[in-house]
Point group: D2
Chain length 347, copies 4
């Protein structure tokens, strides 16, 4: 095994990244060294690349970004028992503190002292990555190889969809980026009655249809509220999965929600949003859930089980496969809206 | 419209029934007269026919049995607004009192003063039946015609399957009569990870495989516990759906259940059952649910939504279609185990 | 029994009411005539009196307002079995349609076709009121007499407090009108660990302390966020009960809520409110519940049970007792903020 | 600090224990050394002392028993950050593996590879005990000193009581040993409407009354079913807390449970129990929960919060305080039924 590796490095507090040859890291006693076989790109990585306001406040260069990946165990620390060399793995990149109230009560996914690999510490846009044993996820052989790099965003979708009843429910998904699209597939696989996909981008709408949405609507052209109300007998949808973080989409989503319905919010608005709480939440007796990350590790077990059924075809969401060394190109196709999910391949 | 109709009548406190011509009943102000197009036969009807111990204590002849059916509205009482003449309908035949604690707290399905049409009052094995407006269920045109007569047992299955998490769960179904079989179909449609069907009767096992069970086991020949444990990594199943009421099946089901799992019991044992509560329930931290009837009317909305997705193919369970006038033959094929679900057709 | 009675009548589409002598109403077959012994005044009644924007859109004069009351059954329709002449009763004044999705799935409190007695039809500010049998609540003799007139707002409080876990939880109540105050009492009776009452009005703050709040804070003077964070070890409160409907209080409440906490919103904001969804709901993984009315009739059973324990001392909230004939005076003390809860006594 | 300490040692595979002077153990990197100030005795300790069937199968001498205690941190391993020398602490003695499905999904209390300190490894009947940092619980100064040694059984009670709705509920507690008695106190502190305590032992019944039971019944003399049904209007109790493990008490408890009620079972029957599942669980639509240990660590937070309110007076349950060196006497008073809870004091 080589002692150096290829890595994407955020080297400076400025836009862009560098492709560098850096030392292969050494795993500690309770850590696992993984040879990365595929890594996928998240909107967060674009924020880091562009060095936007959020990135400036959070990222401390130098940093190897990347928090969606899969690979093969290359070495394990002496205390590790969960996996062995050669195992196919992915990982939860939110490293929880284990000591806060949330961690001690089964809510590690909202740990108050979380550190995210690829954001707060080195991540997976490299040939190798070091992961704490607690966070390693051994992949079932029944799961298609590249899908292992999608478990982070797929987990967001599974967490959101299964945060309440979904079987036999009508569902509106507002925002069809990768997670919104995965949510459609998951909802349908779990018995959702009818899924309305609402999205302005044409390419995303076409993938929404392919991945299983029953009705695909363009809020710029369609009378969304009228169509959803008609299709639900004037009742509205049982479940809103808000995946966009856009104020207008949030408000439209709430308007579509039936009295007594559930709204699960995953999309992150960049500023405060004005909502008609009286009409859309209080009189409706609605339940609104903030959704963050993936449950550790309930969501992972659920994902594995759903993938093993073969009912989740994630293929339509993967629009590009690019060499890790051509990282800048990945940024371009994402920024242009041409790509939905890009998978990077280290060499 | 004729003033008399064909009806199956339990005329006397003795085995058997009579086929009679009786007056077509008149609906009250808040009642609906339905022309029966299909009625299906339940084990309860066989108990009434055979005049067994349970029937002797409960049934007051003369009675028209039959509580699974569908039809077309022939007339409505003057206060009825929910349906109109000509509407395709089915009905919930448990008539709740509306005044007990259970009824007033959303649990009408376990009403303490319930009266069951077809058991405590005239039912649907006739050309016409009278149903209170509150209990009528208008059928969506998207639902295959005969399926309307199966909503009572399908509702039992939906109620049991959806009484807890089912998506991404491993499931054991003990007992594959009609309700057990429907449970398999419902569980799969709602994202169950893997369904183990456990049944001694060969015909039922073959239908279990057709309707979607992943693994079909014969407890008389297979080492059920070993196979289920192997297939679940030694953990056991997340969910037990007990549909047989047989003591041995119940005990086996509990043994298969994982620590922290859910056991939903619908099958009715005919006498007390000895269970190892310490090992199988308490140390396991298991949740055991008694399931009775269908939720009024949440289960009905769920059924309609699931049927509308087209994912529930109930066809394999319908083994016989028989004229209402040949009722005795229906009893024969059920008693012999040759039939699973028999649909009766009034003429 | 006299054939006429004293009644407060909203006679015209204009501010004010009239005190009139009107015919005693006659109960229908499934209705109950109640002689009103006490009625209490809600903010809604003040809106009707003042003929504000909301009232102009909703109220159709002539109308007898009043939806919080208790009394004694004076006569029953021929179909009534739930109560008898002479029974002490109160009533749920939301009359649900019984036919919408919500009504048929145990959510009658958010019925889409609700009619409210005292708002949409004649209510209880009179010597007698007619109530549908389904909505009558027979009072346990163990409940103090006047408390029967407070069950509507007490029910709002019980519904809100018990909409999630409350035992061993830290709780912030924003807004200490009658319902907020009742919530404090209910939360403490149900094992809340520590209740923070947050209210600008001095009189209400003093009642908050009397009724059981552990910490009473004035947002105009105290550094509420600092004090609550200090007292919860920097975690924030487990539960927010928002009872004010004021945008600033809502935002403050959300800021106090711990990651993973529950926010139950009952106060009605008069216009859309801007909230930092990302920080206060989504990243927090918070659950936000809109609360409307009282569960029919689960909340009523809960109220009765809690009142019977003797742990709810509602007395501090009743600030005035006024003759029905002096209705205008009740409006004055409420409008001035001098009163919290006013009980009216028909003669 | 001395290098040796006083300890109760199960030295041989035979009845009895020895009081020995043994080396003070040394904490590992992530362990805490606690000077024990009080330890309390559980029925399990009596099983170990008597060397009964269960003990012979589970215990590997030599062993220091004792799993209920509190003390002061004497030293910490170099990796420990949760507590410091001098902190008052107690501990959860179930050490979970952290790697099984249950541990990874928030159910560490039913870990499949649990090791119990005081049962499977050395415990707390000694002057010092070593505890993994993950299992240490720092005591709030507001909690009475000796109560710290009662958190294990109090936690069983809190876990059982709060495993479902308790506020405004009627409750039957079958079996009033220490955990049953604690359950009564916890249920009342959390707003239970009425608690029925059912117990054959007179001393325990008298403590049940002191600790807050509303009705105390002796199944040997009272017609328990008649009295409970009368007091609940013929409905039965909402909640059964089964704390005895006795077949007759379990069956009686189920008979008392209302249709739709919750039965939480903590008492461990020593052999399979025959129950009328049809009548008592299935037709009733009951929910039966097996309860094991305490939730790690949700129950501990709940306990701390409830104790801090001052509403839990556990004093009546502590019947004896005995020097650790007089361990045999503690066994005697427990075996005779004279004692309920015995607190041991190391010197």
């Amino acid at each position: 095994m080589s002692t150096t590796m290829q890595a994407v490095v955020k080297a400076h507090a400025a836009p862009g990244v560098e492709l560098r040859e850096v030392p292969v890291p050494t795993p500690g006693a309770y850590e696992v060294l993984v040879r990365v076989t595929a890594a996928s790109v998240c909107g967060t990585d674009l924020h880091i690349y562009n060095w936007d306001h959020w990135a400036q406040g959070r990222i401390k260069p130098p940093l190897i970004p990347g928090h969606e990946f899969c690979g093969v165990v290359a070495a394990v620390g002496r205390g590790v028992t969960a996996v062995n060399e050669g195992d196919a793995v992915s990982a939860e990149m939110h490293v929880a503190c284990g000591k806060c109230v949330q961690c001690r009560t089964g809510q590690a996914h909202i740990c108050q002292n979380v550190s995210i690999l690829g954001v707060d510490a080195d991540g997976a846009f490299a040939s190798y990555a070091v992961i704490p044993e607690s966070n390693i996820w051994k992949l079932s052989p029944s799961i298609p190889a590249e899908y292992g790099s999608l478990l982070d965003p797929l987990g967001n979708a599974v967490h959101t969809v299964l945060a309440g009843a979904i079987a036999a429910q009508t569902v509106a998904v507002t925002g069809c980026g990768a997670i919104g699209l995965f949510s459609i597939a998951v909802a349908k696989a779990c018995g959702a009655a009818k899924v309305f996909a609402i999205e302005v981008n044409e390419r995303r709408r076409s993938v929404a249809a392919k991945i299983g949405a029953d009705v695909v609507l363009d809020p710029a052209k369609d009378n969304v509220e009228e169509q959803v109300m008609d299709a639900t007998g004037g009742t509205g949808v049982d479940v809103l999965l808000e995946m966009s973080g856009h104020p207008a989409a949030m408000r439209q989503g709430f308007a579509l929600l039936r009295t007594g319905g559930r709204a699960s919010l995953l999309g992150i608005p960049s500023r405060p949003v004005e909502v008609d709480f009286a009409r859309d939440i209080i009189f409706k007796g609605a339940t609104v859930q903030g959704i963050n990350g993936r449950k550790m590790y309930e969501t992972w077990f659920q994902m594995e089980a759903l993938l093993a059924t073969g009912k989740l075809n994630l293929e339509p969401v993967i629009t590009h496969r690019i060499k890790l060394s051509e990282f800048a190109q990945a940024m371009d196709v994402l920024a242009s809206g041409e790509a939905i999910k890009v998978i990077l391949k280290p060499e």
